[in-house]
């Protein structure tokens, strides 16, 4: 299984734990990730707020950079994933816009035919392409007894509804069941983490984060598993400030799903970026998963 890999800016620094754990589990699962050479930022939500055509062209450069020998591109970040997928779709459905995007790309000597590359979120690659059987066969350290709350957020499951259910997604739930974890079935797993609202208005952003943490707490969660750097950052790095604002005392570790998957596959913790989270996951992981 070979995929072009678009890590995205967050994975370089802020989400380095996602980066190392993605690469580690891909190795164990036999998924070959070929990093897109000289990829550029997807523009997050900000570029679309300024200039749509330029945002599309900036994103399309990445699609155009996918080597002709490959037809699938995977991204671990929800926002990158959606932007790449959205531009491919927009170009296919709106030939006018597609033509302009290609005119812009041509100024850099590039071209992209919509539909040539299938954009996949990493969760789909692991859950659906690698699949249950192959994953179960490689589990050496089941996550038995660990209560994991899968958190999907928004942009992997909406607006396109072909990855999972847009309101009640289940793919990460299934994955964690295969790994032997106790999956927390809580009502806010596809609600919003606030995205970049933390940078714009903290009271509103923190209220959205509070709702997620509160629900996870009520459902007796040991650890929240994320599939996006923005979600992880908001729930983890802002957790103490949320506590300050609402007089709460949340202390819930937030990890990337690939970190927990890596543990189950027997990858040493030090190779999975553990310890980079602000709310430490070590204590609960060690308490629940004895004999490590």
């Amino acid at each position: 299984m070979k995929y072009a890999f678009y890590p995205g800016c967050s994975l370089e620094v802020n989400a380095a734990a996602y980066d190392v754990s993605v690469r580690a589990v891909a190795r164990v699962l036999g998924v070959e990730l070929v990093e897109l050479d000289d990829w550029n930022c997807c523009g997050a939500t900000e570029y679309f707020s300024q200039d749509e055509l330029t945002a599309c062209a900036v994103i399309a450069r990445n699609l155009a950079l996918v080597e002709p020998s490959m037809n699938q591109l995977t991204a671990p970040c929800a926002a990158c994933f959606l932007n790449l997928k959205k531009v491919d779709r927009l170009m296919a459905e709106h030939p006018d816009l597609g033509g302009k995007i290609n005119e812009a790309l041509a100024a850099g000597g590039l071209h992209y035919d919509p539909g040539r590359v299938r954009v996949r979120h990493l969760l789909e690659v692991i859950h659906t392409d690698v699949g249950e059987e192959a994953i179960k066969a490689k589990v050496v350290r089941p996550l038995t007894g660990l209560r994991v709350a899968p958190y999907y957020g928004c942009q992997v499951v909406r607006p396109y509804k072909d990855v999972d259910d847009p309101e009640y997604p289940v793919k990460m739930d299934e994955l964690f069941r295969w790994l032997g974890a106790e999956v927390v079935d809580y009502p806010v797993k596809s609600h919003c983490c606030g995205g970049h609202m933390t940078q714009i208005s903290e009271p509103e952003a923190f209220e959205l984060i509070r709702r997620l943490l509160q629900s996870a707490l009520e459902y007796d969660t040991d650890v929240i598993a994320c599939l996006c750097p923005m979600c992880q950052l908001n729930m983890d790095a802002y957790q103490s400030r949320v506590n300050g604002m609402f007089n709460t005392s949340f202390h819930i570790p937030v990890l990337y799903f690939t970190q927990l998957l890596g543990l189950a596959l027997g990858v040493p913790e030090k190779d999975l970026g553990f310890g980079k989270e602000i709310v430490s996951a070590g204590p609960v992981i060690h308490a629940k998963l004895a004999a490590c």
Partner: protein, 189 residues
């Protein structure tokens, strides 16, 4: 002037539609309110998405563009996923953001400043740069928030989650040529 010779005036709603992929669906809004009821920030908005669509169709440009509604949108796509008439609501919010920035509204929020600082780094380096954003955007626009962020920034830095220098792409000239051309095409349309 007889009404038969007078061309129909291009109204604001037509502009919103023209700027939004599948924007024409806006005309199918049945004012059911599903979007507002689904919106995590609906309570903070001057007008819910439903009310905004009513105002757009009524040509109330000033009211809409000076409101905080689109700046409260966090692009969660709940409204879009649930709208019974497949109206690209989130994308219309993006269109309203662009129009507000372009026409000098948007002073009701810090979001335009963030968008500007963010795209500045993408255009310059080809990558986003959190530390640069922190100084260019936070220190300029939100000095108080920047101070409160300090402790968190330190925690992130300690864990190697914050870089002091930007990452750059090799072929920045190529990206900038694409950006220049796209801007030119956008302005010309």
């Amino acid at each position: 002037m007889s009404s038969t010779t007078r061309a129909r005036k291009r109204e604001w709603v037509d502009e919103v539609i023209a700027e939004t992929p599948n924007g024409h669906r806006l005309r199918h809004c049945i004012q059911c309110g599903t979007c507002g009821g689904s919106c995590p920030n609906g309570a903070e908005m001057d007008y819910t998405p439903r009310a905004v669509f009513n105002l757009i169709v009524a040509g109330q440009k000033d009211k809409v563009l000076s409101s905080n509604t689109m700046w409260q949108c966090v692009s969660c796509y709940f409204c879009t996923a649930r709208c019974p008439h497949q109206i690209p609501i989130t994308d219309i919010m993006y269109t309203l953001k662009r129009m507000a920035i372009r026409e000098g509204y948007g002073r009701t929020s810090d979001a335009p400043a963030l968008a500007k600082a963010f795209t500045h780094y993408v255009d310059k380096y080809g990558r986003s740069f959190e530390m640069g954003l922190a100084s260019r955007y936070h220190l300029l626009n939100r000095p108080l928030a920047a101070m409160k962020m300090g402790g968190m920034g330190f925690n992130m830095f300690k864990r190697g989650r914050m870089a002091l220098t930007p990452s750059r792409i090799r072929q920045i000239d190529q990206l900038q040529a694409i950006i220049r051309k796209a801007r030119q095409l956008g302005g010309a349309s």
